[in-house]
Subunit: 136 residues, 2 copies
């Protein structure tokens, strides 16, 4: 099996939070919304259905864990969970905490408004809180 | 437990395909893209993480089944899988077969272009093929 390499666009747009059993957890560097990305560390996988059954089960478990962490830390009004991948083919699942007051609501976040980079201190504090919740 | 009632907007925008163990399978009446929606028949559930663990596992299984059926029937180039629900709060998962030539590519489909209703004969043929693949 080839080693896992994160897609360069995901590398560029995110900061690492840590590794769960299956997925690398990334924070999108976009202060518009609390936005995590799960990337199963399986080289060459594009679609959820391409994962093995036990990997899919683990991915769902990790979607639930990161959703619960985001919900608890952000008190968001809605979660958006999506595997799209039309531009970056490496399988990745977006978990976005939405608020009625966010700049894209009620539209989906993709392509809605330009990203705003986090203040480093805010970003580091959020990443630390996420690591605490997720145990990574 | 309250009986399951499909949200009126989902009722209006789709045609029923059939029921899997957990989810009702719907076909979006939009000929722009082959587009299924899974609605777990659990009254009052908004987020994936609100489902019980065995229900989440079953939902993932049904995402894989419907993804495989869509992929086989449409020979699509990409699948988009998403639980958004910013407008319709009843938990529902979109499974959209995308082609590089479709009218929204590479953008997500939500809000991209107006829906085009299927020709009834095309729709009925597609629903029949889906039922055959899914065994519903």
């Amino acid at each position: 099996m080839k080693p896992f390499v994160l897609h360069p666009q995901l590398e560029r747009d995110t900061v690492p939070v840590g590794d769960l059993a299956l997925s690398r957890v990334l924070l999108m560097n976009d202060a518009n919304y609390p936005w995590l990305i799960l990337v199963p560390r399986c080289e060459g996988i594009v679609e959820i259905v391409d994962l093995a059954e036990d990997e899919r089960r683990q991915l769902m478990q990790e979607i639930a864990e990161t959703s619960a962490a985001l919900k608890a830390l952000t008190e968001c009004e809605k979660l958006n969970v999506a595997a799209i991948g039309n531009i970056v083919p490496q399988l990745h699942v977006h978990i976005v905490a939405r608020r009625h007051s966010d700049p894209a609501w009620p539209k989906p976040v993709w392509g809605a408004v330009p990203a705003i980079a986090y203040e480093p201190r805010v970003r580091d504090g959020f990443v630390a809180a996420l690591r605490g919740r997720l145990g990574v």
